[in-house]
């Protein structure tokens, strides 16, 4: 590959690479544009549909193109305005706490000129919403937000057109605001609701529809409270685990004694005598009972024996990863390797050479709501309520598991108790559906915390080797990075280095692994930004000056400079105090994070005192929610940086409880300061992931600044830092 990475405006152009650990969805849905279907369950009104452009389909579905046939009618969103003026928006995206129910409502309110309170979003219901691959990769804001703005703008223009026809005037002279079309010349106005009366109008998005520029936004670009916030502070909101149906039973699943174990003997007689429904289907053994207590008791009464092969432990993990690459077996293409210039030559010619190895552990997402699903069968029709980032993917999994067509499966996703990349899969949906089929009644399965820790999937562990060469004047001339297993997201450097070799090595992971907020960008930025400080130290340059010397990208420079200013970079420090920075570019956003730590020389306690982040993600849609996401990223990121790690041995997780696995708490909270860089001239992009990536290296660099000790493994200080 010979891509030129050294252009200053690369941020605009680099395509999003699908990450290997971002699990992918099945074939796109064939949504039939049948007007009768729309109006049958909506009542009359106006429907505007958004059809994805072919290029966008390719990107959204991970690079796969449809073959043959004419262009499919790929709808990604649609909007209905009813005769009562109510606006209903349908999108396959889902809400897991990132607050897109609110930000997407703002987008529609902005272009349609209706109050947010008039808008309802139907999200992630495979029967009612168009196909969507899933809610991940920070894609909602750059794609769905934009599409919904276009849909809303087209709906507004349609309404203006109807008013113009009614009044027999030129549409150009009419304006829309607050749910009404107004004719300033005729001094008259009409409500949207009146215009939609008796209409059954379907409108596709016009090819070009000028949107309101970000600089002129009135609703978008402003803080807006969570649209249904009241339901959350009153406990009224029904999460997936709160769902209930009449005659519902509670399901439990017998877990193997170790990963990959197979059942050698099973005695379920006692459980059956207790009145529970017992299902054995291959390695699947499950219970359904009238109460969760009864289900637990029946499960405990099962006697099972399992057999499994010896498996590695976390103690030998990093050796294992290095030795178990799958090169030669699985050639996955260009994404695995990037070469430019001549690295070896450049390294040998460099004034200073450095080699370091960084590691990251497996960590768990620990969504506070564990996986949950409620399933019911009506004949051969299956309906499942579950918490997932991929309702359509889970529909596919269910269809596959039960050997039924997808159109017999409906998956609904109630707004869920968080996910962080950890809920791409449909385990509980399949379990609940299997038990419900046997019990002939609806069954709910809610995983325990131990199950969530053990049988979900983990953020990949990894080993990262970095080698670099730098001239005495601080110019980096050679850069090499090898990542074993942790992933390729964020693996490329944004520093301008003429000679590079960057390789991702796929490994057969000893644990089940998958997406995690920001994917491998956290690991790769930890290695890269830590090593940048090691190089700066080698040539005795200030860390900020050293970065800026090797960085042309204006947007990234801007956030580093903004954060440095807010942080007061260059201040003198007291004993035990240390300052550090880390930053980068990911999912089209730019982040720089500066950290202040205090290391207690006696106790070894490392406390993060203050974190300053400057973030730029184009035109800001909701500044208050954006701050919330950045603050949240920094708090969540503290765990993986400082103390979170999964311990495992021989196919078992050893710390599968919250009392054994430490997550960030109130007492870990640093002083958080956030600088928002609002670029109204650049399209809005997502913010749920990128802000996380600067924190770990900023802390590592600050700990080095405080103590002279360089920590190269995440988590850095699970047991404090002994410097003596």
């Amino acid at each position: 590959m010979s891509t030129d990475l050294s252009t200053a405006n690369k941020n605009y152009e680099v395509p999003l690479e699908p990450e290997r650990y971002e699990l992918r969805a099945a074939a796109p849905y064939h949504f039939d544009l049948d007007r009768r279907d729309f109006f049958k369950f909506l009542g009359a009104g106006i429907v505007v549909v958004s059809v994805l452009k072919p290029a966008m389909i390719a990107q959204e579905s991970g690079g796969r193109q449809r073959r043959g046939e004419s262009l499919p009618k790929e709808i990604d969103a649609w909007l209905h305005i009813g005769e009562d003026g109510k606006v209903t928006v349908y999108t396959g995206k889902v809400e897991v706490g990132q607050n897109i129910r609110t930000s997407l409502s703002q987008a529609v309110a902005e272009e349609l000129h209706v109050p947010i309170s008039k808008i309802e979003l139907v999200m992630g219901d495979t029967k009612l919403t168009p196909f969507d691959m899933g809610t991940f990769g920070s894609r909602t804001t750059p794609t769905m937000n934009l599409q919904l703005r276009k849909v809303a703008a087209a709906a507004r223009d349609t309404l203006i057109g109807l008013a113009a026809a009614q009044w027999k005037v030129d549409a150009q002279q009419l304006t829309a605001s607050d749910g009404e079309v107004t004719d300033p010349h005729g001094n008259r106005s009409v409500e949207y609701a009146a215009l939609t009366k008796g209409q059954q109008l379907t409108q596709s998005l016009p090819a070009e529809d000028p949107l309101i520029p970000a600089a002129d936004w009135k609703v978008a670009g402003q803080p807006a409270p969570k649209v249904d916030g009241r339901d959350f502070v009153t406990g009224r909101h029904k999460y997936p685990s709160d769902q209930k149906l009449p005659d519902m039973m509670y399901g439990k699943v017998l877990r193997p004694a170790a990963f990959e174990a197979t059942l050698t003997s099973l005695d379920t007689q006692k459980a059956e005598q207790m009145g529970a429904t017992v299902v054995r289907d291959g390695n699947f053994v499950g219970i359904a009972a009238p109460s969760s207590k009864a289900a637990e008791a029946a499960l405990a009464a099962i006697h099972a024996e399992w057999k499994s092969d010896p498996q590695p432990s976390n103690k030998e993990l990093f050796d294992y990863l290095r030795k178990n690459t799958s090169e030669g077996h699985d050639v996955t293409g260009d994404g695995d390797r990037y070469d430019v210039g001549s690295f070896d030559q450049a390294l040998s010619a460099a004034d200073h050479k450095s080699h370091s190895t960084y590691t990251v552990s497996y960590i768990a997402h620990v969504p506070l709501e564990p996986r949950a699903a409620l399933a019911k069968w009506e004949g051969d029709q299956l309906t499942v309520w579950t918490g997932t980032q991929r309702p359509f993917g889970v529909r596919g999994q269910l269809a596959e598991a039960f050997r039924i067509p997808e159109d017999q499966v409906r998956v609904l996703m109630p707004d869920t108790g968080s996910a962080y990349g950890g809920k791409h899969t449909g385990e509980t949906a399949i379990e609940a559906a299997r038990l419900a089929r046997a019990a002939k009644r609806p069954v709910k399965v809610v995983w325990t915390r131990e199950e969530e820790f053990t049988w979900a999937y983990f953020r990949p562990a990894g080993v990262i080797d970095v080698a670099a060469g730098v001239r005495n004047d601080g110019t980096i001339t050679a850069w090499e990075m090898h990542n074993y297993n942790s992933g390729s997201a964020g693996i490329r450097t944004y520093y301008d280095i003429p000679n590079q070799r960057i390789v991702f090595h796929e490994v057969k992971s000893p644990l089940r692994q998958g997406s995690y907020r920001a994917l491998a960008a956290t690991a790769n930025h930890f290695a890269r930004e830590s090593h940048m400080d090691e190089l700066a130290h080698a040539v005795k340059m200030d860390s900020l000056e050293f970065r800026l010397k090797n960085l042309k990208d204006e947007r990234l420079r801007a956030v580093f400079q903004a954060a440095a200013k807010q942080f007061g970079w260059g201040r003198s420090k007291s004993p035990g105090q240390g300052f550090g920075m880390g930053g980068g570019y990911e999912k089209l956003g730019n982040i720089a994070t500066f950290a202040e730590v205090h290391v207690d020389a006696k106790s070894g306690e490392v406390k993060v005192i203050r974190v300053v982040s400057a973030f730029e993600c184009g035109a800001i849609v909701n500044p208050d929610n954006l701050r919330n996401q950045i603050e949240g990223s920094n708090v969540q990121g503290l765990g993986g940086a400082l103390f979170e790690a999964i311990e495992f041995d021989n196919g078992k997780i050893l710390n599968a409880r919250l009392s054994q696995y430490r997550v960030p708490r109130f007492s870990d909270l640093p002083k958080l300061e956030t600088v928002l860089v609002d670029r109204k001239d650049i399209p809005s992009v997502g913010a749920g992931e990128c802000p996380m990536i600067g924190l770990a290296p900023a802390i590592a660099n600050a700990i080095f600044d405080a103590t002279g000790t360089r920590l190269r493994g995440l988590p850095m200080v699970p047991n404090g830092l002994k410097t003596a």
């Binding site: 706490g97 502070v233 685990s241 709501e369 108790g417 997550v663 109130f666």
Partner: protein, 163 residues
Amino acid sequence: MATLRLAINGKSYSVDTDPQTSLLTVLRENLDLTGSKYGCGEGMCGACTVLIDGKAQRSCITRVGSVSDKQITTIEGLAAGEQLHPVQQAFLDAGAMQCGYCTSGMIMSAVALLKKNPSPKESQIIDFMDGNVCRCGTYSRIISAIQKAAAEQGSTMAKGASR
């Protein structure tokens, strides 16, 4: 199995259950009070927090048989009709949530804190709330919300006293 009488949110309930069952399970399964959440099952996350005789308790490790003679308040019983409790209102005003799954427990803990200490210092809020986990990381907003609620309650009380 036993028939237990429970006093929850000012109402009296009769429940047939094993007294060893957790209060959380009874609230959620028998009484449809699903505002209290399961997060860990060992009292380590606070998502299940309720008030028992005014004190914050983890309902997931509280046996239902041990609270049959006590006053239980859950998140559903906090508002007076449509009038939100000042702590609920403060959480809304401060935008102190993302996914909201920890919110019920956070609010119940905060209500208990303000009962005990109407104007807590930041360090006291942190100490008291440390058993409540927010995985989305909204701790700083929750602290602000509690401070707002404390100020709001303080000014309401001051107004009441001056009358």
